[in-house]
Amino acid sequence: MNQLIKILEGIGSTLQLLVRSASYLPSLPRQFGRFVEQCYLIGYTTLPIVAILSFFIGSVLALQAGYSMQNFGAKQLIGALVGLSMARELGPVMVAILLAGRVGSAIAAELASMKVYQEIDALVTMNIPPARMLVMPRLVAVLVMVPVLAIIANLVGWFGGAIICSSTSFIGIEPTTYFATMRQNMEFKDVLNGLIKAEIFGFFVVLVCCNIGLNTRGGPREIGAAVTRAVVVSLILILVLDYFVTKALM
């Protein structure tokens, strides 16, 4: 029962934080420096790891598909399979998981330590709302940067698949054939749905991590606990949202 109450309190405080942060949206020009800084942290610093992982996910997908489909004579469809899988599912989910692990944990740690060491209280007494200075710029930055990361993840994953298809002897599909099949079987809507999913996942990951950080109480041990909680909650949220958003977009 206590656990249920805590979950409901968490949902309530997250929604409150969302409303409060949205109300400070008009002050975005004044927070432009922080917005740019967060774009750098969320987008630029996450980009290399997104590219590396996407390349190997696309490669493994092509490899597994080639190995499994060679017996059915369906190897020609590998391009479509990799293209659709990356765009509709793996790209957005992988970007969101990386955001949770890399950006969400850092946000939770920073805000939790600010809370524990009374920096948040100091902001409140200075009449500087933490939602305006610390949360709103992050939420806007994630909305701007996540589609960029998801598009790059898709492109790198597709190219990873193409390289494996052409360089693996038992697959042996040229990049032109690979991309032609991809084009024939994919629509712009597939890519768009993936971007919408990534946007929703990324936004809620950052919101939840901010809320957990700002509601930390106690000492240094609780900072570590807050980071763990932020990552675990984010991962669960991504997978739960994935089902509902996918269903809604079908």
Binding site: Y117, E119, D121, A122, T125
Partner: protein, 274 residues
């Protein structure tokens, strides 16, 4: 407006640098009670602080002094009773928009990722009280008053305990507050630094005409710079009076708190055990 009985604070020279005085505000606390779970931290506390007064709140550790301060700045909400600042409910969010209050935290609560200069500049930048040159001037003036000019580019982790306290006071000063609240400003400091901080508090009151509410264990600070002193024990305010009234108090709790005798033959902790 009460007159301090003793005023050791020396006014160095910042008078010329002092900004136009803001209107000092009063604080009124009526029947304030606060409960955390089943533990009652504050029990029907009632007192008022007059504009431009230096009021020192003393009391043993855990008596609820810091919790009371948090009620005045709206960081805690009362279980019952009310706290008003300049006639406005301290718990209301818009009170901080109308009244400039600054709290000097016991730990300093400096922003660890910002330099000393940026710590001080945060408030004027966020509230756009001046342009970049004006902000720089305000910050450097505050640092100069607290003798911290050389620490401007340092980070809080590079400062000593005394410097952190002074930076916290300087940060509060940049806000040009109408009400300054200090939470244990002299704790963990050596006697000379404690005296310096006491002098600073009294000097700032003279220069900036702020109302000051100081939570402290420091008897020297209380008896030398306060206009009035209150003693909080077990969540209740047991006495409020001028320093001389407190010194003359016949209340054994007050007498023991102000002049505790070290009795090695009959130590207190052994009395508690029995």
């Amino acid at each position: 407006m009460p007159t301090p009985e003793a005023h050791p604070a020396s006014s160095s020279d910042p008078a010329a640098a002092a900004p136009a005085a803001a209107q000092a505000v009063g604080v009124s606390i009526e029947n304030l009670s606060k409960q955390f779970g089943t533990f009652e931290v504050l029990k029907n506390v009632t007192f008022a602080v007059e504009p431009e007064e230096i009021f020192v709140l003393m009391g043993p550790s855990g008596s609820g002094k810091s919790v009371l301060l948090k009620h005045i700045v709206g960081l805690e909400l009362p279980t019952s009773g009310c706290v008003t600042v300049d006639g406005r409910d301290a718990a209301a969010e818009d009170t901080r928009e109308h009244v400039r209050m600054a709290l000097v935290f016991q730990s300093g609560a400096l922003f660890n990722s910002l330099s000393v200069f940026d710590n001080l500049a945060l408030y004027p930048r966020e509230h756009r009280v001046a342009n970049a040159a004006g902000i720089r001037e305000k910050v450097m003036r505050a640092l100069q008053i607290l003798s911290l000019e050389n620490a401007a580019q340092k980070f809080p982790s590079e400062l000593s305990g005394g410097m952190k306290k002074r930076v916290a006071i300087a940060r509060a000063l940049v806000m040009e507050p109408q009400l300054m609240l200090y939470d244990e400003p002299t704790s963990e400091l050596d006697p000379v630094m404690s005296a310096t901080i006491s002098e600073i508090i009294a000097t700032l009151k003279d220069e900036y005409h702020v109302t000051s509410l100081v939570v402290s264990h420091d008897r020297e600070l209380a008896l030398n710079i306060a206009h009035r002193v209150g003693i909080l024990m077990g969540g209740s305010l047991v006495v409020v009076g001028t320093p001389s009234e407190l010194k003359a108090s016949k209340d054994p709790r007050v007498a023991e708190f102000l002049n505790p005798k070290i009795d090695l033959k009959n130590p207190r902790f052994k009395k508690l055990e029995t």
